[in-house]
């Protein structure tokens, strides 16, 4: 490829050496920063650590190590910049990305990792208390931790029970309803009622959007995805799948691309496949979009 002006300028800039600045900077630096190894030294360390001290080192190995290390260094730089900038949308973006995926880890790992995350969350929650209560090897952080768990469980119980009673403390209409003694059945009944209301509302919204904007408008697709999600939560997979495929079709044919909705539709359809145990189709969908 012929060298362009933009490339030539870049290389001239990067090759520019301010030797006086370098020596002054080096002289003014104490050990800590000068103590970081150069890229060449890192490559040697990497090779020794990964392949062993006795390995016969080829140029290909050296080039691969250099490449791997440069990528890792860039990653470090990016994280440092991110730590300073810390844009507020980072978490939201990460969450939205998390919804798109192609690989499902073994169940044991998922459980283990979830447990670790819960523990980490609790650790962070009680970290200030842990610093205060740490005495020698005895970590009294367990005390506030236990308190948090107890209070949480009591609150959860109260919250659940409050759903079955009115403000005066009498059993609510749902709890009184059919004379069935099972609260669980009544709660389920309440949930189904809520779902049917939501379904009716979403169906009406879809009809309105179709009338106002036409059946192939992306706004219709968004509503279809919402309704598909509702059906999926109620295990009505065939209906959910039909809606989701229609939404995908609308979004793919739309002249104005809406990436976020497209991702949402793909994710929803994959979730439906997963719910039906059609893992291969879910994987194909998420990897290839088919």
């Amino acid at each position: 490829m012929p060298e362009t002006n933009i490339d030539r300028t870049l290389m001239a800039l990067l090759e520019a050496d301010d030797s006086s600045a370098v020596s002054a900077a080096a002289a003014s630096d104490a050990d800590p920063e000068a103590g970081l190894p150069t890229l060449g030294q890192r490559v040697e360390m990497y090779i020794r650590a990964v392949y062993g001290a006795d390995a016969v080192v080829t140029e290909e190995m050296r080039a691969a190590a250099r490449d791997h290390l440069l990528t890792a260094m860039a990653d470090d730089l990016a994280e440092q910049s991110e730590a300073i900038a810390a844009p507020p949308q980072h978490a939201a973006v990460a969450q939205s990305r998390e919804q798109v995926g192609a690989y499902r880890a073994p169940a044991s790992v998922r459980v283990s990792a979830s447990f670790e995350r819960v523990v980490e969350g609790l650790k962070r929650l009680v970290a200030p208390a842990a610093d205060i209560f740490t005495m020698g090897n005895l970590r009294l952080a367990a005390v506030p931790l236990a308190a948090v768990l107890v209070v949480g469980s009591v609150w959860t119980k109260d919250y659940l029970e409050s759903g079955l009673h009115d403000e005066a403390g009498n059993p609510s209409s749902v709890a009184q309803g059919s004379g069935d003694p099972s609260d669980r059945a009544k709660t389920r009944s309440l949930r189904l009622s809520t779902e049917s209301t939501a379904e009716a509302k979403l169906t009406a919204e879809i009809a309105d959007a179709e009338n106002a904007l036409g059946p192939t408008h992306p706004a219709v697709a968004a509503k279809l995805i919402d309704l598909a999600g509702l059906y999926r939560s109620d295990r009505r997979y065939p209906e959910a799948e039909t809606l989701c495929k229609r939404a995908l079709s609308i979004l793919r044919q739309s002249p104005n691309r809406n990436d976020a909705e497209l991702v949402r539709a793909l994710n929803e359809l994959a979730a439906i496949y997963r719910g039906e145990g059609r893992f291969k189709e879910a994987e194909d969908l998420l990897i290839n979009g088919k």
Partner: protein
């Protein structure tokens, strides 16, 4: 084991940036919780690399042995297919080592901390109850600390995730579904708008150059602040064809001044201002190259990767990742 009889583990786990509040971004925190609040002015990653570099060769070999053992245990725990186990272990080890060796040193001019009076004074080992033994690696607390820092369960999960991301374009978070960095091209594939001819027109080399400029601009912002004249200077160099046309061993200062005045009407640019920005920029780059032992080609590659990683980290839509 420390001389005091206390297990060093409790200090180590508390100090590990990998386990700190911000997860993967926590590696940038100084090792405050080890008891020496920023006395060396290093991030966690820098400190780990600094310690690694200061270990005797035999200690490093022992640490590598232990790192490999931890990786083997981790891969066993994720039930990788038996035939794939050894390659996965090797790659996880390489990922861990690359992560350990990745530290870069970039600090904003105004935030450079006061240096410790001496290295010995600044080192946190005595305060953490760790013994330093230059002769016997098994008795040296730094080796155990290093292994725990780089190979605790969470750190290994992250490295494994990095591996998978590299392989499959997805991110494994250990809980089911990986993150996928969806770039424009993928979205074009998915939405049926993909035009393969566009790829040929937009050559890889040209993309890399643009990324490198982007990386340099971001690095300058990181170093000097977004409003600094150096950042404006880099942007003009990256974008103005007239300036690029005349750029060589001598900088076309007059053209740069004119271009800057056209772009930034609020500031009265002159030769002195540009010369000053130029001096600070070249000094910074020379220093950065020297600190990390990079030549111009390495630095270009690093900047291009940095721009790409930065887009992934911040979640902004990539422009051809």
């Amino acid at each position: 084991m420390a001389e005091s009889g206390k297990s060093p583990r409790q200090y180590i786990s508390a100090a590990a940036p990998e386990s700190a509040r911000a997860g993967r971004l926590a590696g940038t925190e100084p090792f405050q919780r080890i008891g020496q609040a920023d006395r060396l002015g290093m991030t966690g990653a820098e400190f780990r690399l600094y310690v690694w570099n200061s270990l005797p060769e035999g200690h490093r070999t022992e640490a590598c042995r232990q790192i490999r053992m931890r990786c083997e245990a981790f891969i066993s725990s994720v039930r990788v297919d038996r035939t794939q186990r050894q390659p996965e272990i090797d790659r996880l080890v390489s990922e861990v080592v690359a992560h350990l060796l990745r530290a870069t040193s970039v600090k904003r001019e105004e935030s450079r901390p006061a240096r410790a009076q001496s290295e010995t004074e600044a080192m946190p080992w005595p305060a953490a109850g760790l013994t330093v033994d230059e002769r016997d690696s098994r008795k040296d607390g730094r080796v155990g600390w290093m292994v725990e820092e780089t190979c605790n369960r969470q750190a290994l999960s992250h490295r494994y995730e990095d591996m998978r991301r590299r392989d499959r374009g997805g991110k494994w978070d250990g809980s089911g579904y990986p993150l996928v960095s969806v770039d424009d091209q993928t979205m074009e594939h998915l939405s049926g708008h993909y035009d393969p001819a566009a790829d040929e027109i937009d050559a890889l080399e040209a993309q890399d150059t643009r990324r490198a400029w982007d990386g340099l601009s971001q690095l300058a912002k990181h170093q000097f602040g977004a409003e600094d004249p150096v950042v404006a200077l880099v942007q003009v160099l990256a974008e103005d064809p007239d300036v690029q046309e005349s750029f060589g061993s001598q900088w076309p200062v007059g053209k740069i001044v004119r271009a800057l005045n056209e772009r930034h009407s609020g500031v009265q640019w002159n030769d002195d201002l540009v010369e000053n920005a130029k001096r600070r920029l070249t000094k910074f780059m020379a220093r950065f190259k020297q600190q990390h032992g990079l030549d111009a080609v390495d630095l270009r590659a690093l900047l291009a990767r940095y721009a790409r990683e930065r887009k992934v980290v911040t979640g902004r839509p990539p422009r051809g990742n």
